[in-house]
C-alpha cells in the first residue's frame, strides 16, 4: 500500500482508490480526535465529580439550605394570683419576599385593588426591607389582617408571587387601659432603637419585630424577649421554602409574676374614674407594688401593631395627658402629707416633745411686723396645740414653729431617709426624682442662701418640694413598717427566680415616737376632729392616714383661696397617704387627685375604696384557702385509698 501523500499513477481507478484512502485516513485521524476529545470530557467530569465532589456538595447545600431565624415567644405577665395580664395572641400579617417580586410598586398597586395598603404601610415596608436580613426572608407589609382580608389574599395568592400571609404572635393586653402605664406596651422596633442595637442584639431581634416601649415591657425587655431560634429550610432558587430540614427551637421569654393584684388595681382605677390622678399601693412587708393606677389612661393594644396617626394625635394632644404615667412621672407638692414624718423627726431630735404646745392664732410670723404665714384654718386651731392635734387637724402653724426649731439642715435628712428627692428604683422606667430641697441645693440651683421662710414652706410640703405619688407611697410604707424602706418593685418572680428586694434604708426612731405619730395618724381618720374622718363610716379595720392639699397657683399674701375665681385646672391638688390596719400594717398607699381641692373629700375616699377592696380580697383568700385545703386533703386521702386498693 502506498503511503499517504505520495504522488501517484494517473489511472482513474488507482486514483479512485488513492482518493478513497485519503478520506479513510482522515476518518481515522478524526476518529482519533474524537477519542481524545471524549477523553478530555471524561477527565473533566472525573475532576468535577470525584476529585472536587465534596466542594460542590457544600456549594450545592449552601444553595438550597437557608437559615431562617425563628422568633421566641414573649414571656407572659401575671398578677399575684396568676391572672394573665399580658398575653400573646395569633395575628396574621401580609408579608412580601422582596427577592421574588420583580416590580414592588406594581405589586402595591395590584394589592391595593384587593385590600387596603396604606402609604405608611409601604413606607415601613421599605424601611424594613433595607435593613440587614437573611435573603428571601419575608418582610411585613400590612399587620393584623382581618379574616376578610386573609380570605381575599388567599383567593388571589396565585397571581401574587412573593406575597405571603404569615401568622405571628402579638401582644394582647386583656385589661387594656387598666394597666397601660404599669405594664406598658410593646410596639414595632423603630429606626432609632435599631440604630442603638449592637451586632449581638440585632441577631436577637432578627425574627422579632416588637420591643417593649414603656412600663414593665420595657424594663424587663431582655427577659421577656427570650432567645431567637433558627430553622434550616430547603428552598428553591426562587426562595420558596419547600421543607424544613432542621430546627433549633427558640427559647421562650421569661414570664413575669407581679406583686400587683388585679382586683385591687381595678378598685384603684375605678375609684379614680372621672379624676386626673394616681394611686400607688405598696405591700408594707416586701415593698411590692400592689396597685399602681394613673388616670386617665389609654388602650395599650393600640400601640402593639402600630398606632394610627389620628389615634396617636388624639392621645398626645389631649389636655388630660392620658399617656402620662402620673404615678411616677408627675411631681406634686406633697402638702401636709409630709407632716407625720417631720413630726417624727422633731420628736427624734428632741427639739419638740409630746408635751410641746403652741398657740395658733391662724398665722405664724418669723418676727414682729414680718410676713404672715397663714394656717389653712383662718382663726387657728386653738391656744394649746400639741403634735397629736397638729397632725390630726393638720395644723400648719405648729409645723411652722417646728420648721423654725429644726431648720432645713435637720429637716432635710428626715425626708431623705424616707426617700424624698431620689429615684425610688422601681422596675418601671422613666421615673422622676421629685425635689427635696436643701441649703446646698438652693445655693447650687438658685444661687441664693436659704431663708428661714423657705423652711416654713417646706414644713407644709409647699415651696420647692415636689414628690411623685410613688415616692409618697414609699414614704408611707416606710412609715408603716416603722423604718424599713424598700425599693418598690412590681415583679415578684422572673421566670423561676423569686425576686426579693432588701430594704435600702432603715429609719431608726424610738418605738414610743413611732407609736405616738402612728396614733396621731390614726386619729386623722378615726377621731371626730380628724381631717380624714369623712371615710371612717363603717370601717371594719383601723386606718392611719394623713390628708394633704397642694397649691397649684400661689395665693397672694392677703387674699383668700377662692375657687370660683380660678379656673378648675388651677384648683388645689388633693392628697392622701394612709396605711392599714393601723396597728399591724399590711398595705400602704398614696393618692393624688389633681385639682381635687381637698385631701379629705377627694383623695381619702379613693384610699378607702382601695383598702376596702384589699380587705375583701384578703378575707376571700383566707376563706378560700381553708376549705380548699380540706378538699385537697380529702382528695389525696381518696387517692391513697384507691392506690392501695389497686395494690391489693
Amino acid at each position: 500500500m502506498p503511503a499517504l501523500g505520495k504522488k501517484h499513477q494517473h489511472s482513474t481507478i488507482a486514483n479512485e482508490g488513492h482518493q478513497r484512502r485519503i478520506i479513510q485516513w482522515r476518518l481515522l485521524v478524526a476518529f482519533l480526535g474524537v477519542v481524545i476529545l471524549l477523553s478530555i470530557l471524561v477527565a473533566r467530569f472525573y475532576l468535577l465529580q470525584i476529585k472536587q465532589h465534596q466542594n460542590f456538595v457544600t456549594l450545592s447545600d449552601r444553595n438550597r439550605i437557608q437559615m431562617q431565624p425563628v422568633a421566641p415567644t414573649r414571656g407572659l405577665i401575671y398578677d399575684r394570683n396568676g391572672i394573665l395580664l399580658a398575653d400573646n395572641r395569633p395575628s396574621y400579617r401580609l408579608s412580601v419576599i422582596p427577592e421574588r417580586v420583580k416590580n414592588l410598586d406594581a405589586l402595591f398597586v395590584e394589592l391595593n385593588k384587593i385590600i387596603d395598603v396604606s402609604a405608611s404601610d409601604i413606607d415601613r415596608f421599605k424601611k424594613l426591607k433595607n435593613r440587614s436580613r437573611a435573603p428571601y426572608q419575608p418582610t411585613p407589609l400590612k399587620l393584623d389582617l382581618s379574616p376578610e382580608e386573609i380570605a381575599k389574599i388567599s383567593v388571589n395568592e396565585y397571581r401574587l408571587p412573593g406575597v405571603e400571609v404569615e401568622a405571628e404572635l402579638v401582644r394582647y393586653y386583656p385589661y387594656g387601659e387598666l394597666l397601660a402605664h404599669t405594664i406598658g406596651y410593646v410596639g414595632r422596633i423603630n429606626e432609632r432603637e435599631l440604630k442603638a442595637f449592637d451586632e449581638e442584639t440585632k441577631k436577637d431581634y432578627s425574627a422579632t419585630f416588637s420591643i417593649g416601649k414603656i412600663g414593665l415591657e420595657k424594663h424587663y425587655e431582655r427577659s421577656l424577649l427570650g432567645a431567637v431560634g433558627s430553622r434550616f429550610l430547603e428552598t428553591n432558587a426562587h426562595g420558596r421554602a419547600l421543607r424544613e430540614l432542621e430546627r433549633e427551637a427558640p427559647e421562650p421569654g421569661q414570664d413575669l409574676h407581679l406583686h400587683l393584684d388585679l382586683h385591687l388595681q381595678k378598685a384603684a382605677f375605678k375609684a379614680l374614674t372621672g379624676w386626673r390622678g394616681a394611686v400607688v399601693a405598696i405591700d408594707v412587708k416586701t415593698g411590692g407594688v400592689l396597685a399602681m393606677a394613673s388616670s386617665p389612661s389609654f388602650d395599650p393594644n393600640l400601640f402593639v401593631t402600630g398606632i394610627s396617626y389620628t389615634d396617636y394625635n388624639a392621645l398626645n394632644s389631649s389636655k388630660d395627658l392620658p399617656l402620662y404615667n402620673r404615678t411616677l412621672q408627675a411631681q406634686y407638692p406633697p402638702g401636709s402629707t409630709l407632716k407625720p414624718i417631720l413630726g417624727l423627726g422633731g420628736l427624734e431630735t428632741g427639739l419638740i416633745s409630746p408635751q410641746t404646745r403652741i398657740n395658733d392664732p391662724g398665722y405664724y410670723q418669723l418676727a414682729e411686723g414680718e410676713r404672715l404665714y397663714r394656717d389653712w384654718k383662718k382663726w387657728g386651731h386653738g391656744k394649746s396645740v400639741d403634735l397629736h392635734q397638729a397632725i390630726t387637724e393638720s395644723c400648719d402653724t405648729f409645723f411652722y414653729e417646728l420648721a423654725v426649731r429644726l431648720g432645713i439642715d435637720n429637716m432635710h435628712p428626715i425626708g431623705a431617709h424616707f426617700g424624698l428627692g431620689k429615684h425610688t428604683g422601681i422596675d418601671v422606667p422613666n421615673e422622676r426624682s421629685g425635689l427635696w430641697p436643701s441649703r446646698q441645693w438652693k445655693k447650687r440651683h438658685r444661687r441664693q442662701p436659704w431663708y428661714p421662710g423657705d423652711s416654713l414652706n417646706v414644713s407644709i410640703g409647699q415651696g420647692d418640694v415636689l414628690t411623685t405619688p410613688l415616692q409618697l407611697a414609699v414614704m408611707t410604707a416606710t412609715f408603716a413598717s416603722q423604718g424599713q424602706r424598700f425599693e418598690p418593685h412590681l415583679v415578684k418572680q422572673l421566670g423561676d427566680q423569686k425576686i426579693e428586694k432588701k430594704g435600702v434604708d432603715i429609719v431608726s426612731a424610738s418605738a414610743a415616737n413611732w407609736a405616738y405619730v402612728n396614733k396621731a395618724m390614726e386619729s386623722v381618720v378615726h377621731s371626730r376632729r380628724g381631717t380624714g374622718k369623712g371615710i371612717n363610716k363603717g370601717l371594719s379595720y383601723r386606718v392611719a392616714g394623713k390628708t394633704g392639699t397642694a397649691q397649684v397657683v400661689g395665693i397672694a399674701q392677703d387674699t383668700d383661696y377662692d375657687r370660683d375665681k380660678i379656673s378648675q385646672r388651677n384648683w388645689d391638688h388633693a392628697l392622701f397617704i394612709a396605711f392599714a390596719p393601723a396597728d399591724a400594717p399590711e398595705i400602704a398607699l398614696a393618692v393624688v387627685i389633681e385639682n381635687g381641692e381637698h385631701g379629705s373629700s377627694a383623695a381619702a375616699p379613693v384610699a378607702r375604696s382601695v383598702f376596702d377592696s384589699w380587705f375583701e380580697i384578703e378575707a376571700a383568700r383566707k376563706a378560700k384557702m381553708n376549705p380548699s385545703q380540706k378538699v385537697s386533703a380529702n382528695r389525696s386521702l381518696k387517692n391513697n385509698v384507691m392506690a392501695s386498693e389497686v395494690d391489693l
Binding site: Q19, I23, A30, L41, F56, S60, E234
Partner: protein, 384 residues
C-alpha cells in the same frame, strides 16, 4: 484490468450477492442502518427520561418532545429513502434556498433577546440556519466529491467561500452556536477531503493572530461577556457567571453515583438554569453521577463510531465526505455542549443533541442521520 474485472464480477455474480446478503438486504431495501437506529433509539429514550426529570415532570414538554421526535424519525426515514446521487444533486439547491432565507431573516426576521433568528410563516416559526446544517455538508461534499482529492487551492478557496457566506449570515443574527456548527460541518468535509496539513496549521496560526481584531470589532458584547465569564466565572457570581457555577455545582455534587433520578437538588430546585435545554447534561450528571455521564458519552461514542464506519464503507467520495461530515459535526455538537456545561468551553448556546428540549434542531439532527442511512444503504453500484 481491474476495472474490467470488477465489471465481470458484478455481472457474473448478481444472484449470489443477493442470496449471500439476504439478512442485510431487508435493511437495504428499507434504507435503514440497524446499528445506527438502535443507538438513536436508546439515546432518545435516555434523553426523554432526563428531560422528564429536568422539566420538573412536565407532561407538556415530554409530549412536545415526543411529537418532535416522531416528526424527526419520519423525516429521517424519508431522507434515508433518497438515492445518494439525488442528494448529491440537490445539495446546491438546498444551499441556495437556505442562503435566500438567511438573507430574509436579516431583513424581516423575528427574534428575542437581541437576536434575530426566526422566520415567521404566521402559524409557525422556524430557523433557516437549521437548513444550512444539512445543506452545508451536502453542498461541500458534492463540491469536493466531484473533484480530484486532495482539493486544489482554488477548490479550497471555493469551498471556504461556500462555508463563509452562510456562516457570516448566521453569525450576524447573531447565533454563535449555529454558526460554529455550520462552519464546522463545512470545514470537516474539507478536512476529510485531504486538506493539506500545511494549510491546516497555517490557518490555525492565522486564527490566533486574527482573534484580536475579531474581539475588538466583530464580537457582540454578550459574546465577549460569555468568553470572559468562561475565563473567570467567579467574578460575576449572580450575573453571567451564575449559569456556569450552578452547572458545575450540579455536576460536581452528583459524584460517582448521583443523587438519584429526580432527586437532584440543583436541577429540581431551579438553581440550574436552562436545565431542560442547553444545560441538561448537568441534570444527568447530578442525578446519575459520573456513571450516568459515562453511559451517555458511550452512547454518543457508539453512534459516532457507527457514523464513521458508514463513512468508511461509503461507495463514493460524496458519500464518504457527507457521512463523515454529518457524523463529526454531530460530535462537535456533543463536545461543544458538554464542554461548555462542564466549564471548559465558552457558553455558546449549543444544545445537547437528541437530549435537550428542541424542535427544529431535533428534526435537522435526525435528518442528518437520514443522510447517513441513505449513504449506508446505497445499493451496490452498477457502474455506467
Amino acid at each position: 484490468m481491474k476495472m474490467h474485472g470488477g465489471r465481470d464480477f458484478v455481472r457474473h455474480m448478481p444472484g449470489s450477492t443477493q442470496t449471500f446478503k439476504k439478512g442485510e438486504s431487508f435493511w437495504r431495501i428499507v434504507h435503514i442502518d440497524p446499528w445506527l437506529l438502535l443507538g438513536l433509539l436508546v439515546l432518545t429514550g435516555v434523553g426523554l427520561s432526563i428531560l422528564y426529570s429536568a422539566s420538573g415532570t412536565s407532561q407538556f414538554m415530554i409530549k412536545r418532545q415526543v411529537i418532535f421526535f416522531s416528526i424527526a424519525y419520519i423525516g429521517m426515514f424519508s431522507i434515508a429513502q433518497c438515492p445518494v446521487n439525488f442528494l448529491e444533486r440537490s445539495g446546491k439547491w438546498l444551499y441556495l434556498f437556505g442562503i435566500v432565507l438567511l438573507v430574509l431573516v436579516l431583513l424581516i426576521g423575528v427574534g428575542a433577546k437581541g437576536a434575530q433568528r426566526w422566520l415567521s410563516l404566521g402559524f409557525i416559526r422556524f430557523q433557516p440556519a437549521e437548513i444550512l446544517k444539512l445543506a452545508m455538508p451536502l453542498c461541500v461534499a458534492a463540491y469536493l466529491g466531484s473533484r480530484a482529492l486532495p482539493p486544489k487551492l482554488k477548490h479550497i478557496g471555493g469551498c471556504l467561500a461556500l462555508v463563509a457566506l452562510p456562516a457570516l449570515l448566521i453569525f450576524k443574527q447573531p447565533d454563535l452556536g449555529t454558526a460554529i456548527l455550520v462552519t464546522a460541518s463545512g470545514l470537516i468535509a474539507l478536512f476529510l477531503a485531504g486538506l493539506s496539513w500545511r494549510y491546516i496549521v497555517g490557518s490555525l496560526l492565522l486564527v490566533v493572530v486574527a482573534s484580536w481584531p475579531m474581539w475588538t470589532f466583530v464580537m457582540h458584547d454578550y459574546q465577549k461577556q460569555r468568553v470572559l465569564t468562561l475565563l473567570n466565572p467567579e467574578a460575576d457570581r449572580l450575573g453571567s457567571g451564575w449559569n456556569i457555577i450552578q452547572s458545575k455545582t450540579a455536576i460536581g455534587s452528583g459524584g460517582l453515583e448521583g443523587k438519584g433520578w429526580m432527586q437532584g437538588t440543583q436541577s429540581q430546585l431551579d438553581f440550574l438554569p436552562e436545565s431542560h435545554t442547553d444545560f441538561i447534561i448537568a441534570v444527568l450528571a447530578e442525578e446519575f453521577g459520573l456513571k450516568g455521564v459515562l453511559l451517555l458519552l458511550s452512547l454518543y461514542g457508539v453512534i459516532i463510531a457507527r457514523g464513521l464506519i458508514i463513512a468508511w464503507r461509503a461507495q463514493n467520495h460524496f458519500g464518504r465526505l457527507l457521512a463523515g461530515s454529518v457524523t463529526l459535526t454531530f460530535f462537535v455538537y456533543v463536545f461543544v455542549n458538554v464542554g461548555m456545561v462542564s466549564g471548559i468551553l465558552p457558553v455558546v448556546g449549543v444544545p445537547l443533541p437528541l437530549v435537550s428540549l428542541g424542535g427544529t434542531s431535533l428534526v435537522t439532527l435526525m435528518a442528518g442521520f437520514g443522510l447517513l442511512m441513505a449513504v449506508a444503504t446505497e445499493p451496490k453500484k452498477t457502474q455506467t
